[in-house]
Amino acid sequence: VTSLAITVVGHDRPGIIAQAAEVLSQCGMNLEDSSMTLLRGHFAMTLICAGEADAAQVEAALQPLVNGSLDVTVREVPEEPDLPPLGPAYLVTVHGADRLGIVARLASVIARAGGNITDLTTRLSGTLYLLLAEVDLPHSSDVDALQARLAEVSAELGVETSMRLIENDQL
């Protein structure tokens, strides 16, 4: 079994997913995890699929999709072990006036604290910049120190930042 990572990026129109999924199914590739959204109006999809076809076969089969307005990449990826989270998950929210380096500065604060960003959304809406990051923190990390450092860097950037524990209601 090979695992393939596929990205499709480009001009949005109805039917891209239907067409891509049909091609994968005909290649015998099982669509596993996928994520699709519109980024500033551009269609953007990333997925992992697994089956017997190789990257070159799938890439060739996806060619009709490209049609001048979409970029498709297909790459074989190794099996990744399903690791348990490092520790509790937090949501970091940031909003403020757009400027260069907001994500870079704040993500590096998180990285230095050993935090692993597992999900990220950023949006630019007019002059408002919004960043939402879900972060797993190791049990050993000093949450108060990280919060203080995020507040310090946010003040330098002129943005508002909050960090909250993500509630998981186990049923």
Binding site: L38, L91, T93, H95, G96, A97, D98, D119, L120, T121, R123, S125, G126, T127, L128, Y129, L130, L132, A133, E134, V159, E160, S162, I166
Partner: protein
């Protein structure tokens, strides 16, 4: 049940401030409900809410004034259960809250984004009426409870963006394209 509000002066329609703006991110000062400037501010909030389509609440920071004053009126909204009609309060706080529910919120100060926010669906709010300064307790639920918490957050320098529930909990506000009128040229 409607709130018996003192008669406010005529309000002026003010511009609504949009994020990013510092005034939306600092906690408002508590104010003297009898101060004529506060009374006028309350009237202005009501007037501005009244001319804004779909607006069910407006807080002082949204018109550029860092103060704890807001108005809410959800009486015409389909998600409303209990309603107190037009509510205008200063120095309000949530004194009891229970039964969290998730819903998608928008805000005139963040016009193009909506977000999923968990808030109490049963609350009691304490606050002062403008002019008279009478202390009132409002116990309510559902959409009115959500609107009150959203406005009290504004008075505390918080936006719904500070309370969204996850990295995928913000959404572009959908503005549907109107079918083109065949008579258009």
């Amino acid at each position: 049940v409607s709130l018996t509000l003192p008669t406010l002066p005529d309000g002026r329609v003010l511009d609504v401030i949009r994020a990013p703006s510092q005034v939306l991110s600092v906690a408002g000062l508590s104010v003297d409900p009898a101060d004529p400037r506060v009374v006028q501010l309350c009237a202005d909030l009501v007037a501005t809410m009244g001319v804004s389509p779909g607006c069910v609440g407006l807080a002082a920071p949204q018109v550029g004034v860092s103060a704890q004053a807001f108005c809410v009126d959800v009486s015409a909204h389909p998600k409303t259960r209990t309603t107190h009609g037009l509510i205008v309060l200063v120095n309000a706080e949530v004194v009891e809250a229970s039964r969290n529910e998730k819903a998608r919120e928008g805000c005139m100060s963040v016009p193009h984004i909506t977000g999923d926010v968990k808030r109490a669906s049963k609350i009691t709010v304490a606050g002062l009426l403008p002019l008279s300064g009478e202390r009132v307790l409002i116990t309510t639920d559902a959409f009115e409870a959500r609107a009150l918490q959203h406005e009290i957050d504004h008075c505390d320098g918080k936006l719904f963006l500070d309370r969204v529930i996850g990295a995928h909990a913000v959404h572009p506000r959908k503005v549907y394209l109107q079918p083109r009128d065949p008579g258009d040229s």
